[in-house]
Structure formats: C-alpha cells, structure tokens
Symmetry: C2
Subunit: 157 residues, 2 copies
Amino acid sequence: MLSKSCIYALRSIVFIAHHTTTEFKIGIKEIARELELPAHYLGKILQQLTKHSIIQSVKGPNGGFSIDEKSQKIKLITIIGVIDGLDFFNSCGFGLKECSKEHPCPLHDNFKIYRDGLLDLFSSKSILDMVSKIEDGNAFIQNANLYETGKKSIKKY
Amino acid sequence: MLSKSCIYALRSIVFIAHHTTTEFKIGIKEIARELELPAHYLGKILQQLTKHSIIQSVKGPNGGFSIDEKSQKIKLITIIGVIDGLDFFNSCGFGLKECSKEHPCPLHDNFKIYRDGLLDLFSSKSILDMVSKIEDGNAFIQNANLYETGKKSIKKY
DNA sequence: ATAATAAAAGACCTGCATATCTTTTATTAT
DNA sequence: ATAATAAAAGATATGCAGGTCTTTTATTAT
C-alpha cells in the first residue's frame, strides 16, 4: 500500500523528530543503523524530503538531519504525497480504469470505505502524533530486539 | 495491495463465470480482449488457477476455460492466497518486523482495522457474489467504454 | 590553508513483477 | 491420418522499485 521508500521516509522522520533538536542533528548512518535501513538508499529519500522542506539538513562535521517545530505538525498524507503520490487513494481495487458510482467494480463501495478511511487516518495524524505515542511508550518505530528480556519470541530453551 | 496478477486473476474468473457453462468455454484471447489484459501473461495466470482446480480448462478446438458450480462458491481470499499469498493481511503498515500488541507501530491499531476489514471482505465474498452483482447490472468487471452514450467522460465539446 | 566530516548528486547494479515470443501437447473436426 | 485449434510450457525480454558505489560540494575544526 505504502511503498518501502515511503515507509522508510515516515519512520525516519519520526525518528529524527524524536531524537534531534535544531542543535543536535543526526546522520544518515545512525538513522540507517537504528532503523535497519540501507544507508545510501535512505540518503536519497532524505534528500527528497529536504528538497520539499519537510526536514532540514546541514553538511559537514556535526551536520546531519533535523526537523523544526513547524514541520513536526505536517500530516503523514503530505509525506505520502511527496514520496508515493496520492493515486492510490483514488484507485480501483480491481484495477478498473474508471471505478465510480456510475461504473463501479463489484467491490467498489467496500474498497472505498477502506481507502477513504486510510486517507482520513493519514490526513489527521501528524509526525508529532507519532512521536508522542513513542515518547509515552505506547508505540515503537524501531524493530523489536528479539533478544530483549521478557519477549515471548525467545523464552523457549 | 493486490498485485496485478491477482487482479487479473479475479477479474478473469468472474468474467469466465459470467460467460461460460461446462459446454461453452471461452479462450484466453477473448478474455484478454474483453478485459484489456496481456493475453500471454494472462495465460500463465489461468494456468496457475487451473492447476489449483479453481477453474477448468480444455485444449483444442472449442476448448478454453470454464468454471463449475462448485468453484463459483470459492471465496476471493482463496484466489488471493494462491496468487499473492496472504502475508499482507498479517503485515505492518510501517514495515516493522514485529508489529503486535506488545510492540506496536504508531498506527498499529488503525492499520489492523483496515487489514482485518479487508480480510473479512475477501473471506466473505465469493465469485458468485461478484457475478450476481454484474448480472443485476449493479457492477462491472470490464472497463467502461469511454465513448459510450451518456457517460460524463465525453459530453464536453 | 588543510584535513576531516557528512550530505548531495550521479552513475550504476539487481531482482522481481510484468510481459512477450516460441515451441509443445492435447483435442477436435474433416 | 491430417489439419486446425487452443492451452501448456519454456525461454526470453522489459520496466521499475529498491539498493549500492563513487564523486562532488558544503561545512567545520584544527
């Protein structure tokens, strides 16, 4: 639904928002390491986001990426629009060229509910909303450490 | 969400169910023409479906594809499982390896609603359900003819 | 000034979904 | 038997998302 690029973008932005201030920036390598993403590829994506002023970057020593207060209020849908475009939210689940009230596919109404629901979701949630959840300990943007204590994953020996 | 292959499969099956009986079969070329799909590629897909006994095929003159009564009751999710697999319905929208109640991504609950909803939808609807809608004139599986009379698409000159 | 750092930019590679083309096999009609 | 038909099967091509590698540019610290 969302491309990998888009997912990488969203997770990185949230990570940057969580870990930086205008003074303390964070580099591609560290983001890539912490989120387990391919560093060079991530570079391209962050470039795009920088060009669109969704995040800020500084080159050279102590450089890296950060995100200002204002940008943290950006809604997820904006980022999706920049990376993937918004065609998905107006497309037919069965691939019909035109799928509308006048010429619906057999699941038009059903698909529409979910597509519209996701659109509403992405249109209502901001970067900051994600970060808050993480800071409250109610969500994660990094992968679970499989060897963490108390995780069901292990415990079988 | 569904791959092109899967969409081609679903549309073709519905088309076959709508247009054939055990006596009157339909060939790849005609299906491809009517649904505007690449014929040879479609062949491969129909092969898979035949192997899985979701449709039936006969070679030679007057041969082609058909679908028996019993197979028309097959649910869409079965076809999706054959062509795409069902990983999607158990995956994280943010790409986390583990995304669960214990280690949720920031939109875990929201994504889950839509994923589960789609799963229920595909699990409840059969080929026959699709065909019925079409035969009742309440849905289409072929693309709209842009030059059809009374379609908003044109009418601007 | 120089060296070190880190993003930006550009060129290139890879794998897979998608698509095409050709040959083979099964079936039917003559 | 033979020719025609149509799916099956196999080999090959294409396009693009995803990923890597190298060079350039901007910035900072010494």
